[in-house]
Subunit: 366 residues, 3 copies
């Protein structure tokens, strides 16, 4: 008990102060505005309302709600942890986003020795943050806040490199980031738990009980995700009709999988009672997200079982086949595209699992 | 008990699977993109940022919050039902929206043998869904999830036909859908409860108790509706200054009726205590919504009493008279317009009551 | 007890009816649409999508969430008061906004004998409402609903005059209203409590206990503020790259101060436990808001201590220095600008403290 208290009173503040000072120093040295945010790039003919901020900001606020309120309420699902889940979600997210802006900036948004910052970078950074939070779900209730932060510290750069390599060299069609984000988060979390919890898989879950109240909070969290999922899934697709279709597909796929989830839940439970975690898992899976799956289950192995097939987005793809007129849209044949997607899937699984395992060993250090 | 369990384990999944498979089949056969979502209609001169998705999507996300979080929390107002109210709200909404896209599509958005789909259709479908959810409030706590779905299955097409007929032949000025939506939902719910609960009006309300906690949730639901009500009310009005005025009227009407509600509630209660259900009912009524009224009261007869006068939107209309410059806006004299509105009110009441009564008989089938 | 009951049953409704009737009369006599909302100013060449409503309304809905859900949940932080905090927040806000539209309209938006109304006025009015709600936090749990309304009645015009004078004559650069709003609200609340509670500072705080449940609500409120703070802070800045930068600064400042808050909270608590009120205070302070500070503390003196330095927005300004390219942007030298800002700070403090003290005496009247 004393050890834990010391840990929080000394190590956590030290980590946070060092991290924040370092981040501020990096911002001072390497970050500047992008063309859309920099006053020097505006002139008499610039139309203020055509600034990119008006294309990106509405999507950004929707994703803000997903990250801070959606995941926040979702992580209140452990009875004794509810409050903590929400609070540490805030801490981890605030850290991950700042850190991701720098790391992604270095790989994807830097030229002339500077990282160029606009609202679009915040969206990218919140995607990286979502990855951390999904993995977070796999270890919540079993780790200290400090361990969560160290995990974020390591996961963000591994993810950023994977994202950069996959987008640059494989050029996959990954609207909503279903491949990158969900696969990566799932296998990374799995890697971490594999190292941390192998010897005593069924111990130490004292906090893993839920109550009526935490269930309500967790359901509200799911609803926040449900409502804004089309924004999340479409925020980085091409503006115009592409984004229009991405919104339609996400919404219809989500609605369809919600019905299926209710059917399965009612059918598979002994007394026909619908359980909320079933609804959450399958519902969110249908929207292209296996995050929920990793998030709720004590045993993150179910993450593979239910998560992996989801990554192919069967329901969404079915709908895409059903509604004619949709094409991969990247100038490749559908077959070529499929091969690249498979390559992306396997390399993402490999890198994230390895990254997770190594992170697990780091977290085991005293 | 066993019967209920069987009902949920067998009938509910069967209904859901059949419904979802049928809906997917219909989408595959009859749904395509509208011009704004179809890649084939874009060319070099198409400006992506002028796509209709950017006009409609912000309103759509606001309405999403109203439907899933607003009504969801609102229906948590029964103590023993809170969780269920929220969950079945999700189920009913996810079903109603998919179903409404097809039915409204058939009547209003089809040509060349196809239903043409864009985000604007999702908004129309969420309006139909709101109708179902308001009626849902009248029967909540007294019906099984399966009965709720059957009600939605029947109410959506009756509403869609009424909507199509009223908009096409009577061309009423119904911004916010105050006439159509609220009248229809109110009288339909009344019809259903009239058939289902006549013989034993005061029995079986075991679940109709509220607790402090469910009151809080229900208040949060009301606040979600309050906050986004101007979006709901203005989402289908003409873009530009018409929409601007619709937003102003809704907001000011809502604020004014909120004050009046507090005054009445404090005055009419024995010990001057303000009761939350008063606030909810009158507050929402002022925004052009009697939904709340149907939603909370055990005895849905109060729905007529308080709902009906509301439909004429006295407070809103008063304000419209007060602020000069507002005109009916459809090229009729104010008197002609008034006659058409009256015709629309009575035909809507007739059709919805009849539809509700018939639906009630269907729900009584074993 | 009887006195309190009479007070609520008679005085509160009388106040509300008189207020609402007066407000409606003023609207009828003096309010008209602004150019963007008035049909007479539109012609064939008017492009509907260029209406100002599309620039302002998205920011307005975000601020709606802050006012009604954010502050509403935040004021649920007293255990026995939770529900009441949320309800009276709604009442006070609905009154303050209507009242502020008139008062600010008279000073800032009137010509030709009329107040010209558009969505932009609603944003200004919600800023005035935010001022009232922040002061509200300083007296919550110690005042009756009627006293809260009388406070709003008096605070709105004092604020509107200060705002008009500062913006017109000192022309300060006050994006996010950090100087005006937070300073004013803080010192006004302090003035009121100074008069009302001096003789018995440590009595009558029976309601000032918090529970687990009210903590959760209050945290959710904080998260609503967190998520939409960039909208609040940037809603009245110049459209285009200025607004883009305001969003970036607010978001990054908020994230940075959140990390610092966690560090301080963990370090300063005896057993390393992170307390939620620390997080709320410092977190929100970082976003340019000392509202939270006034809001939570029983002893509003802490409002000065923590609030005052915040007003200079040290963290935000630091970041503004760190990220090169940011300039005051009003055509003055940085030094001149600084002098005007200092003048604005001192005159705001003077007027608001005096206003608060006088309001305190009015509230003491029987």
């Amino acid at each position: 008990m004393r050890g834990k208290s010391t840990n929080l009173r000394i190590r956590l503040p030290v980590f946070l102060f060092v991290a924040q000072v370092t981040i501020v120093a990096f911002y001072a040295a390497f970050v500047t505005y992008d063309d859309q945010a920099d006053a020097r790039f505006q002139n008499n003919r610039t139309k203020p309302m055509e600034n990119a901020v008006y294309k990106d900001y509405p999507m950004f606020t929707d994703i803000q709600v997903i990250i801070f309120l959606g995941f926040g309420c979702l992580f209140a699902f452990f009875r004794l942890y509810g409050f903590g889940g929400m609070v540490f979600n805030l801490l981890t997210a605030a850290f991950s986003i700042q850190w991701a802006i720098l790391v992604q900036g270095y790989f994807q948004f830097s030229h002339d020795g500077k990282i160029h910052l606009g609202v679009i970078n915040l969206i990218y950074a919140e995607f990286a943050c979502a990855v951390v939070l999904i993995s977070f779900g796999a270890v919540l209730g079993k780790t200290s806040p400090l361990q969560l932060l160290v995990m974020a510290l390591l996961e963000v750069p591994v993810f950023a490199v994977t994202e950069w390599a996959v987008l640059k060299y494989l050029k996959i069609n990954d609207s909503g980031g279903s491949i990158l984000i969900h696969l990566f988060a799932c296998y990374f979390g799995l890697g971490v738990t594999f190292v941390l919890y192998r010897p005593h898989l069924n111990e130490g879950h004292a906090k893993a009980n839920t109550s009526y109240q935490s269930d309500i909070l967790s359901l509200i969290g799911t609803l926040f995700l449900w409502v804004f999922w089309p924004s999340f899934n479409s925020s980085l697709t091409l503006k115009g009709d592409d984004q229009h279709r991405a919104i339609l597909h996400t919404f219809i796929g989500l609605s369809a999988s919600t019905l299926t989830a209710f059917a399965l839940s009612a059918m598979l439970n002994k007394n026909g009672k619908i359980t909320i975690s079933d609804i959450q898992n399958v519902t969110l899976a249908g929207g292209g997200d296996s995050g929920g799956v990793c998030g709720y289950d004590d045993n993150s192995c179910s993450c593979i079982c239910s998560g992996a097939p989801v990554e192919g987005d069967p329901k969404l793809h079915k709908l895409q086949i059903l509604i004619p007129g949709l094409q991969p849209g990247l100038g490749r044949t559908a077959r070529e595209q499929a091969l690249f997607q498979v390559a992306a899937v396997f390399s993402t699984i490999g890198v994230s699992t390895l990254g997770g395992i190594l992170t697990g060993f780091v977290l085991k250090l005293p």
